[in-house]
Symmetry: C2
Subunit: 358 residues, 2 copies
């Protein structure tokens, strides 16, 4: 419909042609020409940057439609400084907990036109720092850090460059939002659940002591015991590394040293699952011989044998909330998302203590 004003000045260069052998890929300039307006105008319409007459607007939309134009985010990123991408540093892509959080992030970001760049820090502060460098180099618009081992100071430094949201910390700083989860309270609840069932000697498998979650959960365990007027017996505490195998090792050690307990609380579900296997190997039944409770409520935990009691730490929702907080930061607003309160999920791995073990 729009009359071709002049011959197209932009014959596809050999480079462009090889980059897109299929469709030559319409550019904003081509849209402008087809609609008989300037490139600036097309850009403004696309970004809602300025009011444009309805007439031109329609012409532009028609041209976009006809040419199948999709703005090039790379060029957009270079010119405008915004790439519509958010960096996400996680510990691992193959973790049941983090995987679910990533999926929560992806879903809420994508419906707002952002895409996520996932990089994993491998539980190592130096790696995490490298991830952040890389994300900075790729000019992401913001960075979400899932817990991790970076210092608060390092995070605040990053926040001087672009918006940051971090989970698992209690930290306030400019251009940064911390979405904290009450791990201590969660651990307290888990321990209390066991106490209420009549258990008095409750073992604890802690997570990696370098991980903030681990120390908070240990603190919660201790505090629940103390509130109940019970001693904290260090011989009942064994360290794991948050994965299944470390749970079996920890439980083996507990058992080998002849520690007497009628219940175990593992600082996460994966270690609880490992602990159950160690118990099984010795023909000890859960929960008859020993109750076990985990932490996180992974989706797989309801399929354990027996289904695992745990404390709910909604990973998918945590991811969603973190992403929403990032969106608010990007809009220049103060985020206000709050993590849900921890809550015990009672399934079948915990039972009242036998009369003789109380």
């Amino acid at each position: 419909m729009a009359p071709p004003n002049k011959p197209s000045p932009a014959a596809p260069s050999p480079r462009a042609a090889s980059a897109a052998r299929a469709s030559p890929a319409a550019t904003l300039g081509m849209v402008a020409e087809a609609a008989g307006v300037s490139a600036s105008t097309v850009s403004r319409i696309l970004n809602g940057t300025a009011a444009v007459s309805d007439q031109k607007k329609q012409a532009v939309y028609d041209a976009i439609e006809k040419l199948g134009f999709v703005p090039n985010p790379v060029a957009r990123g270079l010119a405008g400084g915004r790439t519509l991408s958010i960096g996400v540093v996680t510990q691992a892509l193959d973790s049941p907990f983090y995987g679910s959080a990533l999926s929560g992030i992806e879903h809420t970001l994508e419906r707002r036109g952002y895409s996520a760049l996932f990089v994993s820090g491998q539980w190592d502060a130096r790696e995490e720092a490298r991830c952040i460098e890389m994300l900075l180099a790729r000019r992401v618009d913001g960075i979400i850090v899932l817990t991790g081992r970076l210092t608060d100071a390092a995070l605040q430094e990053v926040a001087k460059t672009l918006p940051v949201v971090v989970t698992g910390r209690d930290l306030v700083a400019d251009n940064l939002y911390a979405l904290d989860f009450d791990n201590a309270e969660g651990a307290r609840l888990a321990t209390r659940h066991l106490l209420e069932l009549g258990h008095r000697r409750i073992a604890f498998i802690t997570g990696d002591p370098n991980h903030p979650d681990a120390v908070q959960r240990l603190a919660g365990y201790r505090s629940a015991l103390q509130r109940a007027g019970l001693p904290v017996d260090d011989r009942l505490i064994e360290a794991g590394l948050f994965h299944e195998e470390s749970g079996v090792v920890a439980m083996d050690r507990l058992l080998d040293r002849g520690a007497a307990f009628s219940a175990v609380f593992a600082a996460n579900d994966q270690m609880a699952i490992g602990a159950c296997l160690a118990l099984y190997r010795r023909s000890l039944r859960v929960p008859t011989d020993c109750s076990v409770i985990g932490f996180d409520d992974l989706s797989m935990s309801s399929f354990c044998l027996p289904p695992l009691s745990t404390v709910r730490h909604p990973s998918h929702e945590m991811g969603r909330l973190a992403a929403e907080a990032m969106l608010r930061l990007l809009e220049g607003q103060r985020p206000d998302q709050r993590a849900p309160a921890p809550q015990v999920v009672v399934r079948e791995s915990t039972a009242p203590a036998a009369a003789d073990s109380t």
Copy 2:
């Protein structure tokens, strides 16, 4: 050391300043100036595009060091057509199988300077197509598709634009590499393992019939039975959806209809785990009352109670191989990576059939 030839023409613009409040971010131009060479020369050194005298080379490296210069991949992508990023379309970020594959991809790509853009197709062909559009718009250098529901034709179409590697298919096309895994053989092996244990009535829980993996595994099951001269009884086949819950539902149905069987083969570990729970609910013991074998060998499967027998489908390695194939395609070479042969992993969920059930 390099004498400042002329006053810097590039005072940081207000935009650049706000985009990087912390460090002003050195550019290639600044490096060139500091080293007393042209931007072209710096670019060539960085890319090894042409021989450069050692003298200038050294000056440039010094300048890069001093300024802490990191090339901007966004600009690089715009100018050179290469973004050093690979799009990966997966089904879900929170799947134990795919998560592990993604991690294999990430590791091998990152050590070659590429980064991965993960997007998930949600088990939906239309979603997958959208993911690919998005990746194309972001100008990734190549796309890895983990199985998925796209037609072969659609994939070939994408391969006209950029290199594609896809898993779970047997497909040859230009600029595309299919890394296939022998699902049928794996299923045959699993079934044969059960047969060798003396089982004669073996139930099968298939995966989503729209998924190629599912149909191949079903075929393998059938073929093993036939080779053994046994009939295929459709009443012993029940469909699941590849997740745990569908495994319990399928097993419930099998049990409810009074089908007689002494062993079950589930088309993946997640459904096998679900099946075990259903059995447990009815006080049926694994493997005493019923043997169960899965497929995939997820890392969690060795922690099941009892530890699950399965066929090894090495997700992490599959990811690594797919990424390596992509790297070769990018180098203009023909990939030659082959998926490892399937292999039964015998653990404790399978046992000889009781005398009366053979």
